[in-house]
């Protein structure tokens, strides 16, 4: 019986097999990828920034990998993208047919003392690259009375968040803890867009972390009509578009605090990260990384990114890997400051 079933299974498998996959080719990588699909897992629901970046990348990257595999995006939301990170690290086949994207802060969660549900070592992923680095800002509604950093330090305010692992919450908490600000964090919104709506209803005063590119591409009118104030920018370098808005790193003179802020906000450098499982064959890892880099220069990709108003300032896989290693090499006392800064302060 079993033998019959096995035979039948093999026969069926033969029927279903893609003929193209069998074609011999000189390049083993091309031979592997030919006629195959590569999954691009997205740790978020459809429609958001990470999702658009991933889908745009997936549409173009296939033609820059030998054998031209079909890249298929798939959403796998859950637990602030921990699910997809765990999945890529542990469950996904380690043969170069899966890559994915998760929250930019996920790689440093363990370092900062958050280990619940973490089943991976961020330094060991096969990092493919990041499509862009991204300055971010705090935004307050024009009627909130918060115009400047000085206001943030002296007047009470409320910002919205979407769960402890989201950058909305982490950045708000870092500011409140590190600078002893009189602000509140109201968490539990489904996402940043809902926080914006709530801000317009005057339920909250603003959001602390809005990626500059999303602001420009989706809600520039708010800026043009002076509906919002930007008291502070978040990142490790000043955004040339915002010369007069203070950078969070410049707000402290204490070198250790500065280092801790640098540690936390360095995630903005790898704003749209992509990674494959650890231990995939070296030639395929190289093919994926090279394919990513080539896509970043592909005129078709760039044209589409421009149409979607997506910023493209790529970081190579090697650069992302190096950055993660640097982050994990920070001195323990700095890590300690950073770890206590991201804690959810009492309301």
């Amino acid at each position: 019986m079993l033998r019959t079933l096995l035979g039948l299974g093999a026969a069926l498998a033969a029927i279903f097999a893609t003929p193209a996959a069998a074609a011999p080719a000189a390049d083993p990588v091309a031979a592997f990828y030919k006629g195959r699909t590569v999954q691009v897992l997205i740790g978020f629901s459809p429609g958001g920034g990470y999702d658009i970046y991933a889908r745009t990348l997936a549409r173009h990257m296939g033609k820059h990998i030998p054998g031209n595999p079909t890249m298929v995006p798939q959403n796998m939301p859950g637990a602030g993208t921990l699910k997809v990170a765990n999945y890529i690290y542990n469950v996904a086949p380690k043969n170069g047919t899966v890559m994915g994207t998760f929250a930019r802060g996920i790689p440093m969660e363990r370092l900062l003392g958050r280990t619940e549900g973490q089943q991976f070592d961020a330094t060991k992923f096969t990092w493919i690259g990041s499509v862009t680095d991204e300055p971010s800002v705090c935004v307050f509604w024009h009627q909130s009375g918060i115009r400047t950093w000085e206001d943030m330090k002296t007047k009470p305010w409320k910002v919205g968040g979407s769960g402890i692992t989201s950058d909305l919450d982490i950045y708000a908490n870092v500011l409140r803890n590190m600078f002893k600000l009189p602000g509140r964090l109201i968490s539990g919104f489904p996402g940043g867009q809902e926080v914006l709506l709530s801000m317009q209803r005057r339920e909250v005063d603003g959001r602390c972390n809005w990626s500059w590119s999303s602001l420009i591409s989706r809600d520039k009118y708010m800026l043009d009509q002076k509906l919002i104030n930007i008291p502070i920018q978040l990142g490790v370098e000043k955004n040339p578009d915002l010369p007069n808005v203070p950078l969070v790193l410049d707000l402290t003179d204490d070198p250790k605090e500065k280092a801790a802020l640098r540690l936390i906000f360095s995630r903005q450098v790898i704003a749209r990260p992509f990674a494959a499982p650890p231990g995939i064959p070296a030639d395929r890892a190289k093919a994926l990384r090279d394919g990513f880099d080539a896509t970043m220069k592909d005129p078709a990709f760039l044209a589409e990114a421009e149409k979607l108003q997506l910023e493209v300032r790529p970081q190579s896989g090697a650069r992302v890997e190096q950055l993660i290693k640097e982050i994990y090499a920070y001195p323990p006392d700095v890590v300690k400051i950073a770890a206590s800064a991201i804690q959810n302060a009492s309301r």
Partner: protein, 674 residues
């Protein structure tokens, strides 16, 4: 205003250009096809189609996308009526009366009424959206977290109506549904609740396996157990004339259509409340407000009209927050939002000003798609009604693999199939023991929204959220909706408890089932005690509700001498199919049925998903139902090739890794199927 009318007419003109119209028709046909496939809904279709719209102009792109999205909830009626298998998660409520009508040989009437009310509902939703365009922003700004909370409580209050005369079971079920919805990472601190270190559960239990498990598998199981055709009475002629009867039913109930469409539109505008519960809420609402509602549940045409109208109307409502603020109200809207951005449209003032013409073309697409969808179904669906006359031994092998592979689309992991099996067994037992299933779905879907807005409302407003005018209005509606069911319930319970027989204890299956749920609730209470306080409140309240309702129910099960005569429609759920079978035979056949399902999971784990479908159909037919080998082989080959074409080639589904692929990696590399 005049300028807006001009713009609306101009948008219609743009859309009526032949190439756009044909794109719309194509979208509608595709949407109808997807709606018929159980488990596949608009979300899958949109995800696949959006890349194809890159090179289209915006009106064409939205004609395609809305053509698809608008009508999946029209054709999902077809499998719901014929097999009791909802075509999308939104058709579960239609199953109750629609399938009962099919069993009486009135599938045609259900079709006629369902398609027409769906089309009318869809047009109504689009019409409301068009009227509301100038007011969209003020409307959305008036609805804050407290209002959203009030809407979700309104939804939960329908548990009372949907429980019928089994209030304790309904309440316990709702509590359990709420508990299950709390699985996953908490919204406040990210605590992993009841995930047991299973990656699958990090994002909670997905909706599709739950609805298909609770509503589709029990019907299929009973088909396998009773071994009869679905249409127990002669179908007669599912002709245009029988459908015409359904159309006339809609005419007689025009006020119900308008009420339900209105409710569907409003609920659709509430982010998070999607088709999976709108159908139930509206069904409950109809059962609560209609005269002579006791026939609901046993083939009342109004039970088809109400959810169908609402579910198509909701699409117009869904678009309100999406267009006005870029806040998607449902899963399909998040994708549509992505498409907006892709075409350079930013939701908000832009779509209500500079790009108003496109907003109107979206509304027209929605309107036309609904009308076309209804007409195509009216003309075409009756041919499909013959499926209900198929014998179980050929019908089951056709429907079951589709249910499997569609369930697998939920998250594309093995967990989907385990969930399907688990909820299938639970659903079948509930159906048998008279536990109403809709309350469980309501608790499951509304739970997370309720929790979210409960916290936000409290955080932002303190207790003053209760004093907001819209909240008060909704509160009055809730009180009105609860009053009659609650007073009936109290009377009914008092009667039941008066008739308790304290001398004899009967430990029947009902008592066992209740007992198991209580053990689950206690275990859930124990395992949740270490969570942060904010993450405990809603889940543990749900546990206690389930536990208290469960223990009261246990008392009536153990000592219940008094049995109210079970009238059809008592629990607003399908009455257990009247069966002359011995309990032992029934149990054996049920075990066999679910055994086959487990066997499929095993086969898929060994040989890969697609090969397993071929194998399963072959073995199921030839051994399970003793069909000729040749026929079984042909069926199996057709099903496997069909699934291969749609899911592997069409949707590029990544198949899970199977044992065979581990043993022979070359085979995995070669086929990509295992």
């Amino acid at each position: 205003m005049e300028g807006q009318l001009d713009m609306a007419l101009q948008a219609l003109q743009t859309l009526m250009e032949p190439h756009r119209l044909s794109i719309l028709v194509f979208g509608v046909l595709l949407g109808l096809a997807i709606g018929v496939m159980p488990g596949l809904g608009g979300v899958v279709a949109l995800a696949v189609l959006i890349p194809f719209t890159y090179n289209m102009d915006a009106p064409s792109a939205f004609a395609l996308l809305l053509g698809v999205a608008a009508v999946t909830t029209t054709s999902d009626l077809i499998p719901a009526v014929l097999f009791g298998v909802p075509g999308t998660v939104g058709a579960a409520a239609t199953v109750i009366d629609g399938h009962a009508l099919a069993q009486k040989g009135q599938a045609g009437r259900a079709f006629g009424a369902g398609f027409v009310s769906a089309a009318l509902g869809g047009v109504f939703g689009a019409f409301v959206l068009a009227l509301a365009v100038p007011l969209l922003q003020p409307i959305m700004l008036a609805i804050g977290s407290p209002e959203l909370l009030a809407f979700s409580i309104f939804g939960l209050s329908m548990v009372a109506t949907l429980s019928g005369r089994a209030p304790l079971k309904g309440l316990a079920g709702a509590g359990i549904g709420l508990m299950i919805s709390m699985v996953g990472s908490g919204t406040q601190t990210g605590t992993l609740r009841w995930t047991f270190d299973q990656l699958y559960l990090f994002d909670g239990v997905p909706l599709i396996p739950v609805t298909l498990g609770l509503f589709a598998l029990p019907e299929l199981a009973d088909l396998a157990i009773n071994r009869r055709r679905i249409a127990r009475e002669v179908m007669g002629n599912v002709s245009l004339s029988s459908q015409w009867e359904g159309v006339r039913d809609v005419g007689r109930n025009w006020w119900l259509v308008i009420k339900c469409s209105g409710l569907g539109t409003i609920l659709g505008a509430v982010p998070g409340i999607g088709s999976a519960v709108i159908d139930w809420i509206v069904y409950g609402y109809a059962a609560r407000t209609e005269k002579n509602a006791e026939t609901f549940g046993s083939g009342d045409i109004r039970g088809v009209i109400a959810p169908e109208a609402a579910n198509n109307a909701k699409e117009g409502g869904h678009l309100v927050p999406t267009i006005a603020f870029g806040v998607p109200a449902g899963a399909s809207m998040t994708l549509l939002l992505g498409a907006f951005l892709l075409h350079g449209l930013t939701p908000g003032p832009d779509m209500l000003g500079r790009n108003l013409d496109i907003t109107y073309s979206i509304i027209w697409s929605l309107t036309l798609a609904n009308v076309m969808g209804g007409m195509i179904c009216l003309l075409g669906a009756r041919h499909l009604a013959k499926f209900a006359e198929m014998k179980h031994e050929t019908l089951l092998p056709l429907v079951m693999p589709i249910v499997f592979v569609a369930t697998f689309q939920a998250t594309r992991s093995w967990g989907d199939l385990y969930s399907l099996l688990i909820f299938g067994v639970i659903g079948w037992i509930m159906k048998r023991l008279g536990w109403p299933r809709p309350p469980m779905v309501l608790g499951f879907v509304i739970g997370p929204i309720f929790e979210r807005y409960l916290f936000l409302s409290n955080e932002i407003y303190g207790y003053s959220w209760l004093m907001r005018p819209v909240v008060i209005v909704i509160g009055v509606v809730i009180a009105w909706a609860l009053y009659r069911p609650l007073s009936q319930t109290v009377k009914h319970l008092a009667q039941e408890f008066r008739h308790l027989d304290r001398t004899t204890i009967k430990v029947g299956p009902g008592a066992w089932f209740t007992g198991v749920w209580m053990v689950v609730a206690v275990a859930a209470l124990i395992t949740s005690s270490s969570w942060p306080e904010v993450e405990q409140i809603v889940p543990r309240t749900a546990c206690w509700a389930a536990l208290i309702a469960g223990s009261l129910n246990l008392v009536t099960e153990l000592f219940g001498g008094y049995r109210p005569k079970a009238a059809a429609g008592d629990s607003h759920d399908l009455p257990p199919t009247d069966t002359p079978l011995e309990p032992a035979v029934m149990l054996r056949r049920a075990a066999e049925f679910f055994g086959w399902l487990a066997g499929f999971i095993l086969l898929a784990g060994l040989f890969g998903f697609l090969p397993a479908i071929g194998l399963f159909v072959f073995v199921f037919m030839s051994i399970g139902f003793k069909q000729p080998l040749l026929r079984s082989a042909i069926f199996s080959l057709c099903m496997a090739l069909f699934c291969y074409g749609v899911f592997d080639r069409g949707l590029h589904v990544p198949w899970p890794q199977a044992v065979l692929g581990d043993i022979w990696p070359a085979l995995r590399e070669y086929s990509g199927l295992m």
